[in-house]
């Protein structure tokens, strides 16, 4: 007969990818699909055109005819948000794409290059990273001017060192991995094992970082637009809407609050997607 049950030890069980992370991934993938649909077919979702003024119905609060109310010119806030996704989300995506491509080039050059080139590039990225991202982006805008494209470039450039460092580290680890050596021993040509083993194994973490980064890039883009460095009114860009709305915050809160919420939701989705991808890759 057993007499007792006891459990000891202080070590906590390690957190592992569970069913929860699958659900998270499913939800965030669905949300991303919805955003893509908004980008491609805004007309399907928006009941009104984004730039139709309606002087009869200015400052209407949210109702069944105007889900999120109307602004100072009587434009439907919901429709403007739907059409504005095209500017805000696209800017974030383009910025991230610029950062990933340039960062990968920087990282791969450092990993593949001579020891001197590696040291130079890494010290340069150190300096780069020492500046706050927004400050760097402002610097770039000061050089190339304002507008949607300029903002995307500015944010992308500011994020390059983060991707560069990640890619360099991954590339160094993977090229020295025994499985790459095993392919070499089998006589697999260099271009093929780079394509088959190195890039996919380097790419995984980059995808995770990029999906986390897209959210912050979108938020940064909206921030710069809010400061008036992006597209000009009446563009329904979310940052611009936020800037316009803040004047009327006391009387018509919905004009500014909903664009702000939209930014929060999109950043949240991109973070959720990134985290669930991360959990899967750690499994």
């Amino acid at each position: 007969m057993s007499a007792t049950t006891a459990a000891f030890d202080t070590a906590r069980p390690r957190w592992r990818a569970t069913r929860g992370s699958h659900i998270l991934l499913a939800i965030s993938t669905l949300a991303v699909a919805l955003i893509v649909a908004l980008l491609l077919f805004p007309g399907v979702f928006a009941p009104y055109a984004p730039d139709t003024n309606d002087v009869q119905h200015t400052f209407s609060p949210p109702s069944s005819t105007h889900y999120l109310g109307t602004d100072q010119l009587g434009r439907d806030v919901f429709s403007r948000l739907v059409y504005g996704a095209r500017y805000s989300v696209t800017t974030g995506l383009v910025a991230t794409a610029i950062a990933v491509v340039a960062g990968s080039l920087v990282g791969l050059t450092a990993a593949a290059g001579s020891r001197l080139a590696d040291a130079l590039i890494m010290r340069l990225t150190d300096v780069w990273m020492a500046f706050p991202e927004v400050l760097l982006a402002l610097l770039v805008i000061a050089l190339i001017g304002t507008g949607s494209t300029q903002i995307a470039v500015a944010i992308g450039v500011a994020a390059v060192p983060y991707y560069g460092r990640l890619v360099r580290g991954q590339a160094l680890a993977v090229t020295k991995a025994e499985y790459v050596e095993a392919a070499k021993i089998l006589g697999v040509p260099a271009w093929r094992y780079v394509l088959r083993h190195v890039l996919p194994n380097v790419g995984g973490p980059v995808v995770v970082l990029a999906s986390l980064g897209t959210g912050s890039a979108i938020a940064a883009a909206a921030g710069l637009s809010l400061l008036g460095l992006g597209p000009l009114p009446p563009t329904p860009e979310w940052g611009v809407m936020l800037a316009e709305g803040q004047t009327y915050l006391a009387n018509a809160w919905w004009i500014a609050v909903f664009p702000g919420l939209a930014i929060v939701v999109v950043v949240l989705i991109s973070t959720m997607l990134g985290r669930s991808l991360q959990a899967r890759s750690l499994r």
């Binding site: 057993s2 007499a3 007792t4 000891f8 499985y179 050596e181 089998l186 006589g187 996919p200």
Partner: protein, 525 residues
């Protein structure tokens, strides 16, 4: 005095079936009990249970569980803490990871004294640390106690770890695979040290996968299989007349009894290494090594860690260029040729690495891993060839859909062999091919390699630190030390009449059971 009394111990995790099943044993003072079994047999869990470290989700049940004279069944967290380090000391396998890299040896050894003798002064503790370091045979204890783990050799680190386990003079010392990570000569010294600890009247629980290692030290042996003790008794009885078939298998493996190889008849020279040298900065890793390998021949290359054998293997594989000397493969220049020219020749020489898990792309399935070695073959033909190769190494075709981490260690090494065989090589270099595997799996993989060699007439270069592995597999033997070959000859001759003192030392330090093909001649102290 009875130090440990366990009866009907059962340990399970969560709702899974128990990993330790109704086991019972006792340890008296001055006695050594060895728990012998392979990975997953439950021996480490049993040992950790005696320290209250089975794990948070562990469910421990026992009729009797007495440790250090007290009933440990209802021990609280604090009770266990009082017990650990004071009446029971634990020595783990790998001193490099078990010692805190940021703490000096003195702090590490003094920690348990500080915890259990709270009124001790700093000077007293310092004195005790020097004492215990001297006891475990650390030379220059004053100097060593002020150093960090990375400044110590593997053997010294293991001694320091043992010192920290015995610093508070515990009655019982638990040693979990204390020599598995060590070279043969160092292993021999550590086993002698553990023997001394036993002679001081302490109880010793020794855990190992290797019967030959424990046979000299243990008074009694308990053989574990799948969470149960299948056989237990005095060492002489277990080694002399084992009853359980599993014990017999383990003994046969430890004695190196495997199918006899037919004598080697000779063939054309396939690999010709001529005076190769390789320096890493100031250090000469390989110094003027020459060797030949002929068709159908097995050559064993034995050396301890740091002897340069893996660097030599990398040069032979064309992964590193020698600084001096040259290597010919099938009579053609191999070293010093551009990779473009070498690539077409690569299929003639293949490598089996120590850690097959690392040698596979984690994202690929077994089928894809093997298929990579089959360029130019597609579709059904390629699938058929993959199935063929899996069958050659004794694996079922359905494993082709699995990923490396879903296989057992033995299965992984078989997949590695299948991939190495895919391009139909003439030369196969095996760099520690079995040292990451359990003993019974080791035997299977070695048998497979030698069977394949006889069937396919491949030349094998067997690189290992383990003499028992080469004894049964190799026609010729090379012993490497500090980058040089110090002994070369037929395996049988080298074992019977070693020419170099180092070979002699290696042979005598190798743990052996009575009845092994080559028993040691004298005693090494």
């Amino acid at each position: 005095m009875t130090l440990v009394e366990v009866a009907g111990l059962e340990v399970s995790f969560g709702h899974e079936p128990p990993v330790v099943h109704d086991i019972s044993f006792t340890i008296e003072d001055g006695e050594c009990l060895a728990l012998v079994g392979e990975s997953g047999s439950g021996k480490s869990v049993t040992a950790r249970t005696l320290l209250g470290l089975a794990g948070e989700r562990a469910r421990v049940r026992a009729r009797t569980l007495r440790v250090g004279g007290a009933d440990a069944r209802n021990f609280s967290h604090r009770d266990w803490q009082r017990l650990r380090g004071k009446s029971v000391g634990m020595v783990l396998q790998d001193a490099l990871v078990s010692l805190d890299p940021l703490r000096r040896i003195e702090d590490e050894v003094a920690e348990s004294i500080r915890l259990h003798q709270r009124d001790s002064t700093r000077a007293e503790r310092h004195q005790r640390v020097l004492e215990v370091l001297t006891e475990v045979g650390v030379p220059e204890p004053e100097l060593r106690s002020q150093q960090y783990p990375h400044q110590l050799s593997g053997g010294l680190r293991q001694r320091a770890l043992i010192a920290s386990a015995v610093a508070t003079r515990p009655d019982l010392v638990i040693a979990d695979e204390p020599t598995t990570a060590l070279d043969v000569l160092v292993q021999h010294q550590i086993l002698r040290l553990l023997e001394e600890i036993k002679e001081q009247g302490r109880g010793l629980l020794l855990i190992s996968h290797d019967l030959a290692v424990v046979a000299k030290l243990a008074d009694r042996i308990a053989v574990m299989l799948d969470g149960r003790i299948v056989e237990t008794g005095p060492t002489e009885r277990i080694v002399g007349s084992p009853e359980h078939p599993y014990t017999r298998t383990l003994l046969d493996i430890a004695r190196g009894r495997r199918a006899q190889r037919p004598p080697y008849t000779g063939g054309q020279t396939l690999l010709d290494v001529d005076g190769v040298t390789k320096d890493f900065g100031e250090r000469r890793a390989v110094a003027g090594v020459s060797l030949t390998l002929r068709a159908g021949e097995t050559v064993g290359l034995v050396g301890e860690s740091g002897s340069g054998k893996s660097t030599l293997a990398r040069m032979v594989m064309g992964l590193t260029e020698p600084d001096e000397g040259r290597i010919l493969l099938r009579g053609q220049p191999w070293s010093g040729t551009p990779e473009r020219a070498r690539r077409a020749q690569r299929r003639h020489i293949q490598l089996i690495q120590q850690d097959p898990q690392a040698a596979f792309d984690p994202r690929h399935t077994v089928g894809r891993i093997i298929a990579e070695a089959l360029p130019g073959q597609r579709g059904a033909r390629r699938r058929a060839r993959v199935t063929d190769l899996l069958a050659t190494v004794g694996l079922d075709a359905h494993l082709a859909r699995r990923r490396p981490h879903q296989l057992s260690g033995g299965q992984r090494q078989r997949v590695a062999i299948a991939r190495a065989l895919a391009p139909q090589p003439e030369v196969l270099i095996c760099d520690e091919p079995v040292s990451a595997l359990d003993v019974s799996v080791q035997a299977q993989v070695l048998d497979l390699l030698s069977e394949l060699q006889q069937r396919l007439g491949i030349a094998l270069l067997f690189i290992t630190h383990d003499l028992t592995v080469v004894e049964q597999t190799s026609d010729r033997l090379l012993i490497m030390k500090d980058g040089e070959i110090v002994e070369e000859g037929l395996t049988k001759a080298a074992f019977e009449d070693p020419q170099h003192p180092y070979t002699n030392a290696l042979l005598q330090a190798a743990p052996r059971l009575p009845g092994s093909p080559t028993a040691p001649k004298g005693e090494l102290r």
